[in-house]
């Protein structure tokens, strides 16, 4: 297994964080969170990858055929479901914020300082 996918996962994590820290718009910010999240997909899938492995469907294959790990794929699916919910909720909050405060810029919201 090469080092490359892990580097991609780390890169996505860091670039997502960078996006969140510097964002001037809550919708953009939530999407940066989704980018950060995709690093966990890459990480999980690369952990389960086996060189030369087939898809983990065991009907009609010889016993002992190498297959990639289905567990991490299940984890990733769960991860997608959970995070779709969270991102949808956060985007709904951002929309509502825009309706009430007429801005999506975190710099312009001063109510919660100190």
């Amino acid at each position: 297994m090469s080092f490359f996918p892990y580097a991609v996962a780390a890169w996505l994590f860091v670039i997502g964080l960078y996006g969140i820290v510097t964002s001037r718009n809550f919708v953009h910010l939530v999407i940066c969170l989704a980018v950060l999240q995709s690093s966990t997909y890459v990480l999980l899938l690369s952990i389960g990858y086996r060189v030369g492995g087939t898809a983990p469907v065991f009907a009609g294959v010889r016993v002992g055929t190498p297959a990639v790990d289905p567990v991490v794929q299940a984890l990733m699916l769960t991860d997608i479901v959970v995070e779709a919910t969270v991102v949808a909720l956060l985007l709904a909050l951002a929309l509502q914020l825009h309706k009430r405060a007429n801005t999506l810029d975190p710099d312009k919201l001063k109510a919660l300082e100190g």
């Binding site: 984890l75 769960t78 951002a94 919660l112 300082e113």
Partner: protein, 606 residues
């Protein structure tokens, strides 16, 4: 195999699903009744599980996927007394919040109850599970309900901002946890905590350290440990009061619970030779959190925000208790969570009462306006004393447990942190009491007025006449319970026994993977805390009272030469609590990196 085990999750989630499906047809009263009955049922089941777990930890394998030859493939609930106790306590606080909200939210639909039940089910599952990925899923379910509850007042922009800050920082924390879980799975091929712990054994390397830092930092975001705590005050300032009760009372503490569980089941083996390095990190982080939270707490005028910062401070104390890595300190943490949760919940409920009665939770606006609410004032005062860990409250038992543990490893200095935290947080709450319930001090105190004022949206119809019993009774009941637990003999011993079970890694593994009968040795008889500990705690309480009265008196030095550096520090601290989510995530990133570097350097040096 216990058939009861899945019910604390299944029942609330099912009722929540039914309620949300029948949203249009279920009236408010029916939905309230259903929610309260469900919570009581869940609490009773958790209580029964607690009784069973005291004999032996209860194991439940979903779908009958029991381990074969010591290898676990299925998903399990592993219910030990501390986990079951956390679930019982969760149900109790949810019940108090639901009763309080009977008179709350005139516009509330059934959706509030749906979210509360979802929150309850997720927290119970979080406390009971024995599977690391399952822990993450319940963490996210709990978070999603919490974000929605936090932003419940959709009409207010602050509310949306607070919920977004909360949601974004906590979700970043969740990804940290998930990455850590992925790394551990890559190393061990297991998701069951007992299995991971056994497979890792005592091997420590870079990957295990990274996984530990990611998982610990992720849960510390939920637990609001410095520098991950920034979201907490925003979330508490905007969330409806009954929701604050749950945030401060149990959700934040469950973050500490998760770190404790993961440490004692998985990481204690690899870090066994490096306990002192983990201790150094945790004691330092805990002390900083406690002091920062306490200082910020004293500088607030928005009562809910003030109480929120007090929670940060007390979480710092809990982190110290965890960092001692000893069973008496662990028992102390459990008792402190109980005692603090009860009094903090009562304080938030009284804040909710004030909001209900006067449409404000601003300390200066409320000056002298609650002078005739005698009973409520007594409850608020008593809860403040509990916050200072006055002997007689459950918090005192917790505090003495943690400090005894710290003394056992030669770190008696943590007493100073407890004194500072207790003095400042209880002092701030007593100052509020003096100003609001006794009319002491001035209404336009320049010092306090410099703090941020946030307009709080009304949560109820104006109530000019009296206080409904359903709002007063839960607050009074919770404080009385905190005193009752503090005065019951044998509580400390029982909790110590539970702590020994929680720390027994090999016993846990044998119980889960081989279904072995493990020996539960009752802790030896506790010597009653007399003398020094009592004197310190009474001293802290007296200091808090003195501080409160001094700050309300004309003699409070605001311009004195000696005070100026303090004022500057406070100003700086306030400035970093910017309300800007980007800053919060920057601090979070810095915190993770710092944790990793410090731990790696400490371990490398040894």
């Amino acid at each position: 195999m216990s058939t009861l085990a899945p019910l604390p999750v299944v029942i609330p989630l099912s009722v929540a699903a039914i309620l949300s499906a029948l949203n249009k047809f279920v009236g408010r009263r029916l939905s309230e009744a259903l929610a309260i009955l469900t919570t009581i049922a869940t609490g009773l089941i958790c209580g029964e599980l607690l009784l069973q777990a005291r004999v032996q930890p209860v194991i439940h394998w979903f779908g009958g996927w029991t381990p074969r030859a010591g290898v676990a493939l299925g998903i399990s609930f592993v219910i030990d007394p501390i986990g079951a106790g956390a679930a019982v306590f969760t149900s109790l606080l949810v019940l108090a919040a639901l009763i309080f909200s009977l008179h709350y939210f005139d516009t509330v639909g059934t959706l509030f109850h749906v979210l509360m039940l979802g929150f309850l089910g997720a927290m119970c599952g979080f406390a009971l599970t024995g599977d690391l990925f399952n822990l993450f899923v319940f963490f996210e379910l709990m978070s999603a309900s919490a974000f929605a509850l936090c932003g419940y007042k959709v009409e207010e922009p602050e509310s949306m901002q607070g919920a977004l800050n909360f949601g974004i920082t906590n979700t970043v924390g969740a990804f940290l946890v998930l990455s850590g879980i992925g790394l551990l799975y890559g190393r061990t091929g297991a998701l069951n905590m007992a299995q991971i712990g056994r497979t890792l054994g005592g091997n420590l390397d870079g990957l295990v350290i990274t996984a530990f830092v990611f998982i610990m930092a992720g849960f510390f975001v939920k637990a609001a440990v410095f520098p991950f705590h920034f979201w907490l005050a925003d979330a508490h300032a905007v969330a409806p009061t009954p929701v604050c009760v749950l945030f401060s009372g149990i959700m934040v503490e469950l973050g500490i619970y998760a770190v404790l569980r993961v440490y004692w089941v998985i990481f204690d083996g690899p870090f066994a030779a490096h306990r002192w390095d983990v201790r150094a990190l945790l004691l330092a982080v805990g002390s900083i959190t406690a002091v920062v939270g306490a200082v910020m707490c004293f500088g607030q005028r928005h009562i809910k925000r003030l109480l929120a910062f007090s929670t940060v401070s007390h979480v710092g104390l809990l982190t110290i208790g965890f960092g001692v890595l000893k069973e008496d300190a662990l028992a102390g943490v459990a008792l402190y969570v109980l005692g603090h949760g009860l009094v903090k919940a009562a304080l938030f409920l009284v804040a909710g009462l004030l909001l209900h009665r006067f449409s404000s939770v601003d300390e200066l606006e409320l000056h002298g306006r609650a002078c005739r609410m005698h009973a409520t004032g007594v409850v608020f005062f008593a809860a403040a004393l509990g916050l200072a860990s006055m002997p007689g409250f459950a918090t005192f038992l917790g505090e003495s447990g943690i400090i005894d543990g710290a003394k056992g490893i030669g770190q008696g200095w943590v007493r100073a942190v407890f004194v500072i935290s207790g003095m400042l947080t209880a002092g701030a709450v007593l100052r509020v009491w003096g100003r609001v319930f006794r009319g002491m001090g001035k209404a336009d105190d320049a010092e306090t007025a410099s703090a941020k004022k946030i307009d709080e949206g009304r949560e109820t119809k104006a109530a000019s006449h009296g206080i409904p019993a359903a709002m007063f009774a839960p607050a009074a009941g919770l404080v009385l319970l905190a005193i009752a637990i503090g005065l019951t003999p044998g509580v400390k011993r029982a909790v110590r026994t539970a702590a020994i079970v929680m720390q027994d890694r090999t016993g846990y593994q044998a119980r889960v993977l081989e279904h072995a009968w493990i020996s539960v040795t009752p802790a030896e008889e506790e010597h009653t805390p007399i003398g020094k500990g009592l004197a310190w705690s009474f001293g802290t309480t007296a200091a808090a009272l003195a501080l409160a009265f001094l700050s309300l008196s004309p003699y409070w030095p605001t311009k004195h030469v000696l005070v100026r550096p303090v004022a500057k520090t406070v100003h700086l601290l306030r400035a970093i609590h910017s309300g800007h989510v980007g800053d919060y995530v920057a601090f979070l990133t810095f915190g993770v990196a710092a944790f990793g570097v410090v731990l790696a350097v400490l371990i490398h040096l040894r």
